[in-house]
Symmetry: C2
Subunit: 500 residues, 2 copies
């Protein structure tokens, strides 16, 4: 494909994309395919000779769209939203074309500096404490791929700080002498004692049992002992703060080292909020790293009226939220801030000669802030979206989606076969048919088999619930009404089928 062919292809694709997004209401949300459907549509081997653009373009519908779940359909209500918007597509397109790798300042100065500025913009927009902004320091923000990575990084940062207190760093010292003349087996039997691993074994992380699966995964990957604290049913399934406090004290008495508490603002199951203020006080009292995971709900803090959920944020050591969930910036774009740059940089620094540059002490190198070395120019899409919408536009988007969730809640109340499982705080409604888990599982299955809308479940305190999330930027009142009518229709059938 030469540059003229690219001009033609990219413009054709532009129209296709605009038509696709504007026409999403006409497509089934869930595709009608079985596992393995694609094997008959894409050859087993790649072509020897190159193919013209028209071959590729003509395969998009019959191969890709045939098996696509349309996340941006106005009737997609599963999981949580993933963002999409036209300025984000433009920003990402420019990023793909520049294809720079911004691991150090030197490697692409605008990539590092725009990211620093955008993270300051975003910190200000959602009302984070000033210390998280580069402008005020000593903290700052970085774009990570996902909140899973941010949580893992917070754990690693917290671990490193404790290792430092004991005179160690993240490297496991090579305990064997690397002397060429050394005889095999010299150095004696390994006695199973290593200060490093003994310390690791004493460190403990805490989160609620409603925290995201990525928290448990991060603990597994980093070999961290984690305690999943029970939640209070009467306090909207938020972490039981007294239990947290008791366990921290018990752990300390036993010689363990409480290392990090992960607070969730907006859980995946029910969008519940842990009590950041009270947990923050505990973390300050015991000098424990406080990481706040606001992956979904964090975007709502662009509206001042929702910031009460962040009460206590001044205790936070690190904070993460996903513009790629609810702030119109496409995946991947997770935002992560830390109170003090050095807390993260200590955990990651490796310094090969091939990455050194003259300016490395004058500004930061983001490679020390993340797991991968390479990184895309992701702040471009933030810049485009934030300017294109303005703060007002972003607020309007959040408020509208929450209003739509409340509308669904009102519709639900008109039918006394249903019950709201929990109050509606953001763009998520958790509900169920009054009755057994089995009944609700059947209802969900029936709805999703229809393929016209898409919902996903959760299980909280052994109760199977159905989640209705407002996801698409283009969801309107008529879509909520459409989905509600459909849910009622499926409920009619399920209840009719039920043996008396």
């Amino acid at each position: 494909m030469n540059s003229d062919e690219f001009r033609e292809a990219s413009k054709q694709l532009t129209d296709y994309i605009a038509d696709y997004i504007e026409g999403l209401r006409q497509r089934s949300v869930v595709p009608d395919v079985e596992p393995g459907y694609l094997n008959d549509l894409v050859p087993e081997l790649p072509p020897e000779q190159g193919e013209p653009w028209c071959n590729l373009f003509n395969d998009i519908e019959p191969v890709i769209m045939k098996g696509m779940t349309h996340w941006h359909s106005p009737r997609f209500h599963a999981y949580f939203p993933t963002a999409n918007s036209y300025p984000a597509i433009c920003g990402d397109m420019l990023s793909t074309a520049l294809a720079c790798i911004g691991f150090t300042w030197n490697a692409a100065p605008s990539c590092t500096e725009l990211e620093m500025r955008m993270m300051d913009w975003l910190a200000w927009m959602i009302g984070l404490p000033e210390y998280f902004q580069f402008k005020y320091g000593p903290g700052g923000g970085v774009i990570q791929t996902t909140a899973s990575e941010s949580t893992l990084i917070a754990i690693l940062g917290a671990r490193t700080q404790i290792l430092k207190q004991y005179g160690l760093d993240n490297r496991i010292a090579d305990d064997q002498d690397d002397d060429e003349d050394q005889e095999d087996g010299q150095g004696g039997q390994y006695d199973g004692h290593s200060k490093h691993y003994e310390l690791l074994g004493r460190m403990v992380a805490y989160a609620s049992n409603q925290s995201h699966s990525s928290v448990e995964k991060a603990a597994m990957l980093s070999a961290t002992r984690i305690r999943l604290i029970p939640v209070d049913r009467e306090k909207n399934y938020s972490m039981n703060v007294d239990r947290l406090r008791k366990r921290i004290i018990a752990d300390k008495q036993r010689g363990l080292i409480p290392m990090i508490v992960i607070v969730t603002l907006g859980t995946t199951n029910t969008c519940s909020f842990d009590n950041l203020f009270r947990i923050g006080e505990i973390c300050s009292e015991f000098r424990i790293w406080l990481h706040v995971d606001a992956a979904y709900a964090g975007s709502a803090f662009v509206c001042p009226e929702f910031r009460h959920y962040m009460h206590g944020i001044e205790h936070a050591t690190s904070f993460t939220m996903n513009p790629h969930k609810w702030l119109l910036v496409n995946f991947d774009c997770n935002a992560f801030w830390v109170k003090d740059k050095s807390l993260i940089e200590d955990a990651f620094i490796v310094n090969p000669v091939y990455l050194k540059h003259e300016n490395q002490n004058r500004i930061l190198d983001y490679r020390h802030w993340q797991i991968p070395l390479g990184r895309r120019f992701r702040s471009l899409k933030m810049w485009f979206v934030f300017r294109s919408y303005g703060l007002n536009g972003l607020q309007k988007h959040i408020r509208k989606q929450i209003e739509l969730a409340k509308l669904f809640g009102q519709l639900l109340k008109t039918d006394d076969r249903f019950e709201l499982f929990d109050e509606i705080r953001m763009g998520l409604v958790c509900f169920r048919l009054k009755g057994s888990n089995e009944l609700n599982e059947k209802l969900l299955q029936s709805i999703n088999h229809g393929k016209e809308i898409f919902l996903t479940p959760a299980k909280v305190n052994e109760q199977f619930i159905i989640r209705f999330a407002i996801c698409s930027r283009t969801t309107e009142e008529m879509d909520v009404q459409f989905s509600w009518n459909l849910i009622q229709k499926h409920a009619d059938q399920i209840i009719l089928q039920r043996p008396k």
Copy 2:
């Protein structure tokens, strides 16, 4: 930005991108900016109201390009290449617009299935053993963000297998009873002994001291003891296999558990190749996970004449290479294969209800193959590139770049002030002025300050060397000649300045 404005914006951007890429030879490779340059160009706060597209577009040159290092300039010779091509830009654009999150099959069937097929295509194209293909099983491939992540995942996979042998998994058991009525401090003092951490402390990873910095980083993050084995100067700085063998035996005798060996095919410093065959035999003998990091050089294996560097590949447990480096597919696109799916899935499985679906036992869910939960539809750009170029086009690209590196080597030999540091195996030439490290540091600094071309250094066995990598898809003989003339000119100046 509505859909009509998007059509206009995206088409304008398309022309800008084509003009930019075709006009790269006219730009300085390195920008003329100092750290902090962007602070005066981008306001401290985002706008209240949205701005029109023309404002955004008009800022690209004075803000972004002003501080851009042009990685795709035909005269960019730093680091290693990062890929770019027109069909990749189109594929990524479609992926951004679809904006699906393919964490489970259900969440976007075409996203999972095209990725499986593309990983099979690529495994076949580079001549990997059949067991790495889904088609033959039990192994398969996945797209990760970077080789850093793949190495970390291989380490975690290897660790999990050893834990399993001892009846454990990756979870650290919660050793405290979570009984509501329990008194604080019950359960007695933690005695510092945990089977889990004792085992972790016994596990050892091995790589050469020329392996990428990401190997050391992955060991740090996963709290793994790593031994960096010395290299043989007379064997092109490849891992000293006898030393590896000796250390494995010594470690076993001491009661340690050799867990993984990371073989590098194409090091960052000098593109040296470890002896995969001999190391593979050792791994098979001692039943150690063998991970092969061919991040850069792996792409060259699309040409059969370079596959002799993979001799011994049948011993590999996992293999990684970066299509986003040298195979015309834009970042991020790291390819990772494992011999048996379960080896990776065991390390990652967490199973919340909100991600369960009916088809989960009929096909794979890529969320169990990676650190993040979310994932983009990255196989689209592979599909577009592989079809647009065909296998022949990809081979032509690799061969041309290696020829250009050899051309540079020939030019270098015409000037006896210079010496080749090592033979030219791929698209990288390592050279130096005969003389001190200081002299070479001065030469590199002088070249890069000129900003017309961009080179980076390495240090091997205390020798400072200059790396000249063929990076851009559009580099031609005239560019190599241009760069060589410029290097000679700077050498003239440096040598003149040298005190007699």
